[in-house]
């Protein structure tokens, strides 16, 4: 007896819907817990003052540090990642070498974040002499999110139908003009996905900048490299308060407060990208 395909469809759509709900439950739970314990910690002092002994005071240098770090990471990884994606999709010939490179890039996504941290410390901080600076941190984080940015962008570019390019070229445009005007605008939403995922990761990871961020600073960074470039970062300070202060912590809910600020920050930074992307997806031309 053949099952009516309409029944199969209803069943499958029902399951998919429940699965999507299942995914939302843990997020809401985490948000609720963080709000419950963390909201009471946040006040104006918390956001604008420097940290004091026993996890007291505020987290301003860490907020600034994370913001600068994320901006630096986008500035570095977006152009390079996008450029690499364009190169791999449009300019290189589709041979074995390209496939190897593609696999290599995706495999980099599996390197543990602490290894990026060790590499960043040895290479950027020590070897290139940048000191434990914003530049070293941003470069390390960019390297870490590069696989996602490149892969997401590349898939988006590949998905643009071939005839868009053909039409543009037949109208006399050069290769670059074609890419710039006929391909990228349509791949933009996929590129933004890679960026959004990358920002979330870069802002929230402790391990890659474990050896680069400073555990405690009174002053905020005054430059991008060198001693003046020392910075604090929210995830690292969060780990530091949770793990290292013990019962002498002034307010035991401090880690939750920091987590809340971090999540809010990431949300605010990625919001423009999300809105732009939503608009672009509505206007999709194929």
């Amino acid at each position: 007896m053949r099952i009516n395909p309409r029944h199969t469809e209803k069943f499958i759509f029902g399951s998919l819907f429940s699965v999507s709900l299942i995914i939302l439950v843990p997020i809401s739970w985490v948000l609720l817990i963080t709000l419950k314990y963390g909201l009471s910690v946040i006040n104006l002092d918390f956001l604008t003052k420097s940290p004091t002994f026993n996890a007291g005071g505020g987290i301003y240098p860490a907020i600034l540090g994370t913001i600068l770090l994320v901006i630096g990471t986008i500035v570095v990884s977006l152009p390079i990642g996008l450029g690499a994606a364009i190169y791999l999709s449009e300019y290189s010939s589709k041979n074995l070498l390209t496939r190897i490179i593609r696999i290599g890039i995706i495999s980099l996504a599996g390197v543990p974040s602490i290894v990026y941290g060790l590499f960043g410390f040895s290479f950027f901080v020590l070897f290139l002499g940048f000191d434990k600076s914003l530049l070293a941190g941003a470069l390390t984080l960019s390297l870490m999110i590069l696989p996602v940015v490149i892969t997401a962008s590349r898939e988006a570019i590949d998905a643009v139908p071939e005839h868009f390019r053909e039409v543009s070229l037949s109208l006399g445009a050069t290769k670059w003009q074609t890419i710039r005007h006929a391909v990228i605008p349509h791949a933009l939403s996929g590129i933004l996905t890679g960026t959004i995922l990358g920002i979330g990761r870069a802002a929230g990871e402790t391990a890659p900048i474990l050896l680069i961020a400073s555990a405690w600073l009174v002053n905020t960074p005054t430059s991008v490299v060198g001693r003046g470039g020392r910075f604090m970062a929210l995830p690292n300070y969060l780990y530091s308060t949770y793990a290292l202060v013990g019962k002498s912590m002034e307010n035991p809910n401090t880690p939750y407060g920091i987590a809340l600020v971090l999540m809010l920050l990431v949300f605010l930074i990625t919001l423009p990208a999300i809105i732009i992307r939503a608009k672009l997806r509505k206007e999709r031309k194929w």
Partner: protein, 285 residues
């Protein structure tokens, strides 16, 4: 896309402008790196010290005792915090590089052995504890508790606390001793997590520095042997060295401390510095 680049450039320019404007380079600065156990303490010292001597800028970092000692040898830090003593190989390497490390003990830390408040066991001897952590003893009933599996927590192998516990509890002070933690022992990254686990698991046992003991766990009374006094790790008993499991906290400098480094170390050792130490949860000299 052009807008992205433009925005990026603008931001970089702003950052550099900010950099070139504020000239906050102090004439004197001290670098402190090392033990994660001591990083909060070092922050406290730096904060109070800088309040008295605003001309001196101190930056504090963690990374671990080994990282601190390494940095002292490499010359990238002025003071290394260590929750363990320098190993002979490290001293040798330092001397080879022309660095003569000077050890200054700044305080003490008692190690708490703790169980859940729901666990009927209240006291153990060092031998019993060693048996549990080395895997010889696996059930609570063997040490006077319920018939249940013992769930053992420890710090991870590169922690100074782990090393100390292994040497002084598992191997009774023999630094060349070869008794190890059992493979079934959970090695956790930080003491706060150990406390969390013990608080929520009636079968658990673990150890951590005094500064982490909260009301949610029960500190065991420890004795050297079955006849000896069973003592809890209080400040008094740690100071008098009667409590059997305690360690020293130290800082290392390149040779005898001079100038502002000497000022800072003196601060750590006198009344104000020691009161900061106690606020951080450790035991003063």
């Amino acid at each position: 896309m052009k807008k992205f680049f433009a925005l990026g450039l603008v931001l970089i320019v702003i950052i550099f402008a900010v950099g070139c404007n504020s000239s906050q380079t102090s004439s004197k600065s001290i670098e402190v790196t090392g033990s994660d156990t001591m990083v909060n303490l070092a922050r406290g010292w730096a904060q109070e010290f800088m309040a008295e001597e605003p001309d001196i800028e101190i930056s504090v970092d963690g990374g671990g005792s080994s990282v601190g000692i390494q940095a002292l040898i490499n010359g990238t830090t002025d003071i290394a915090n260590a929750s363990r003593e320098m190993k002979p190989e490290e001293i040798k390497t330092a001397r080879e590089k022309g660095v003569n490390p000077k050890e200054i003990i700044v305080g003490y830390d008692g190690i708490v052995v703790a169980v859940s408040p729901k666990n009927p066991v209240n006291k153990l001897t060092i031998d019993e504890i060693a048996g549990i952590f080395s895997g010889k003893t696996t059930n609570w009933k063997q040490v006077g508790g319920d018939d249940a599996k013992i769930v053992v927590f420890s710090r991870e192998s590169s922690s100074g606390t782990y090393e100390f516990f292994k040497e002084h509890v598992l191997n009774k002070g023999d630094s060349k001793g070869s008794i190890n933690f059992a493979p079934s022992v959970s090695l956790l990254n930080n003491s706060s997590q150990i406390v969390d686990q013990i608080a929520s698991n009636p079968k658990a046992i673990g150890y951590f520095g005094m500064g982490y003991a909260t009301k949610d766990i029960k500190e065991l009374e420890v004795a050297k042997n079955k006849s000896g006094p069973y003592l809890r790790p209080t400040i008094e008993k740690v100071k008098s060295k009667e409590y059997s499991i305690s360690r020293s906290l130290q800082v290392y400098t390149k040779g005898e401390p001079k100038g502002e480094i000497k000022k800072f170390v003196d601060f750590m050792l006198d009344g104000k510095g020691q009161s900061v130490l106690e606020k951080a949860g450790f035991v003063s000299l």
